[in-house]
Symmetry: C2
Subunit: 362 residues, 2 copies
DNA sequence: TCAAATCGTGTAATCGGTTACATGACACAC
DNA sequence: GTGTGTCATGTAACCGATTACACGATTTGA
């Protein structure tokens, strides 16, 4: 038993398909009486319009595609959530496509989106601008959101990883650290490389010698890298980690080894994932308002789509690269000496002071 | 400049559209020579097939819909991730639709999926079976995944919340707790209610008096609820929390108040979100393998779809309700003196047996 | 009273594919 | 030479909507 089509409804209501379409969509010119009859027929037949067919004739899908990297975690999930929230407001659906890890796979994923979406988010770093151009023959509206997208001429939103890394190092310096190590993200990852570069620059500016070990952005590698640092002859009193998960792994490693944080070593992460506020000590990190960034991205894409289907080229501003500047969030993993002194005043421990700070965050 | 269509390619290669379609899709009977010519033309014109049009004629979208509740967090994100991973393997895309929080909105979201998807996951608890039936006039293959879905005759995957709650209470009893409080999830939430019911049953079986405060599944409410418990005259030595986030909030509240965990009070959560292993003390909780559950759900739905389009009705097994049994993961938030657990082994109750069942299933 | 404007409705083309069936060429067997 | 079978290819119907345009009926104005 096939679902009813618009023709079934038309037959049942004894009108033409055109009238049914008119009655069901915008209120074109239809008599109140026939409209009523049509609605009753639609109800009786449990008619539900076929979105695919509608898209074909209107060439509007009300759907946006997201090209994801091969593996993604908390960060992208949260980003998608932010996009989804905004998408609903704008009347759009979201369709996700995990691309393969090579450029060809990603290009194929993009192509498979044709006729399915009105616009595309590309979060997959495998796609460079050249590939992108050939991949989307139909030149869909696009918003790029992978590290290094800023170099493209396409509209994009990128995180200021370099600036964030600078801020992290500067903060460690300000709290008195003199020997700052860096647990880097995986080589080849553009975000990781930008953060590493920022660290190296900031260290050079401060006239300090850099000290880098490489992780893979996962908690386990943070743990291992911290152990490697402790095993090495070189001393350190501060660690800037490429992301929060590695920082948390490092915190646990220090804790296990009896190295106190922040007294013996201060730790800074990157991203401000929800866990960062919940571990002890609370993790000082660079906050990216992920969901909000997702929302902004969606608005940009929708703006582009509307501009494209109405006027001419999109507005000038919409083809620009938008930069999200991470914000330093100071927690107890780098408690400045000033705060520590204050916590010591009268109270039995600094725990209370730090805990209060966290509550405000949460 | 419109993207090239199949007719453009046909014209360019001087063949009919049928040949182009045949050449590009399965290798029907096409001369190697014409195929080559067609592929070259497609390349030259940067032809990309229009998935929407293809779906219309094949009535196959290779897309699955997910009807989400109004607000969703880490749990659903992880579930979607698991589904996505599996979807890729099966050649499907995923389209998400956040429904509104009322039943009408959810029904509308389901209807808007017609012609867009080959099957549907319903994670939105607002939809009861009756609404669902009317909402999907076209009777799409469906997998239900909200609490209470077990009562429906439709295929579903549900978490054994009740059993999990039992296991939590039993574990607390086994570690020596005598006065166990429960921080419940929000009233009206089916998962929360099932966990509460399990707690009440287990307490009744143990001949203990229950002690319940209500939270809302967020960390903040766990914090507040724990403070409320401490402020109340009634003493307690164990807390079973409706989910991990509230448990973590409670842990922080106890820490701030100088109440030691697990010495003064033992805490158990539910879900085993990634943070649970990273807080200190590590949170004892009931693990749900979220991503794996998502993968299973996807396989079920795909199985249904394939059965529907090939043979007759789906297999008997596929219309059953599948139960995911949470697995008790013991960490330091509950003192896991093994001897105590062993001692429980001797008791006539089904407690230990059920706990073993959990482990095997997980 | 007749032409023009207005208005509700129907007819049929269209979106971009897939595919059942028709066609025509060629080979082979009698 | 004719009939038959095979095989590559073309023609056109279809999927289920939207919508430009046509049409007939009614109203309006001179």
């Amino acid at each position: 038993m096939k679902p009813a089509t618009i023709r079934d409804v038309a037959r049942h209501a004894q009108v033409s398909v055109a009238s049914v379409s008119r009655a069901l969509n915008g209120s074109d010119t239809v008599t109140e009486e026939t409209r009523k009859r049509i609605l009753e027929s639609a109800e009786a037949l449990q008619y539900v319009p076929h979105s695919g067919a509608r898209s074909l004739s209107t060439s509007k899908t009300n759907t946006l595609g997201i090209i994801l990297p091969d593996l993604y975690g908390e960060f992208f999930s949260e980003l998608i959530r932010g996009m989804d929230l905004a998408a609903r407001e704008h009347g759009y659906h979201l369709i996700v496509s995990s691309s393969h890890d090579d450029a060809d796979g990603a290009a194929a994923a993009i192509r498979s989106m044709r006729g399915r979406v009105d616009g595309l988010f590309v979060l997959s770093p495998q796609i460079d601008s050249a590939n992108l151009a050939t991949a989307m023959a139909g030149r869909l509206p696009v918003v790029l959101m992978h590290g290094g997208a800023g170099e493209s001429t396409l509209p994009s939103i990128v995180v200021d990883n370099n600036g964030g890394a600078h801020a992290a190092v500067d903060h460690l310096l300000a709290t008195g650290c003199r020997s700052i190590a860096h647990i880097a993200g995986p080589a080849g990852n553009l975000e990781a490389e930008a953060r590493l570069a920022g660290y190296l620059e900031a260290m050079a500016e401060a006239g300090l010698e850099p000290h880098v070990v490489e992780g893979d952005f996962n908690q386990g590698s943070g743990h291992a890298s911290a152990q490697a640092l402790m095993a090495a002859p070189r001393r350190f009193d501060g660690v800037f980690c490429g992301n929060d998960m590695m920082a948390i792994g490092a915190l646990l490693a220090f804790q296990e080894a009896g190295v106190r944080c922040p007294e013996d070593v201060a730790v800074v992460g990157f991203d401000d994932v929800p866990i960062a506020a919940l571990v002890r000590p609370g993790l000082t990190t660079l906050r990216i308002r992920i969901a909000e960034t997702g929302r902004r991205a969606l608005q940009r894409l929708v703006g582009q789509i509307e501009a494209a289907q109405a006027g001419r080229e999109a507005t000038q501003s919409s083809s620009a690269c938008e930069v999200v500047r991470p914000e330093l969030v100071i927690r107890t993993s780098t408690r400045a000496s000033v705060s520590t002194t204050r916590a010591a005043d009268g109270r039995p421990s600094g725990v209370t002071a730090s805990a209060q700070g966290e509550n405000q965050d949460g």
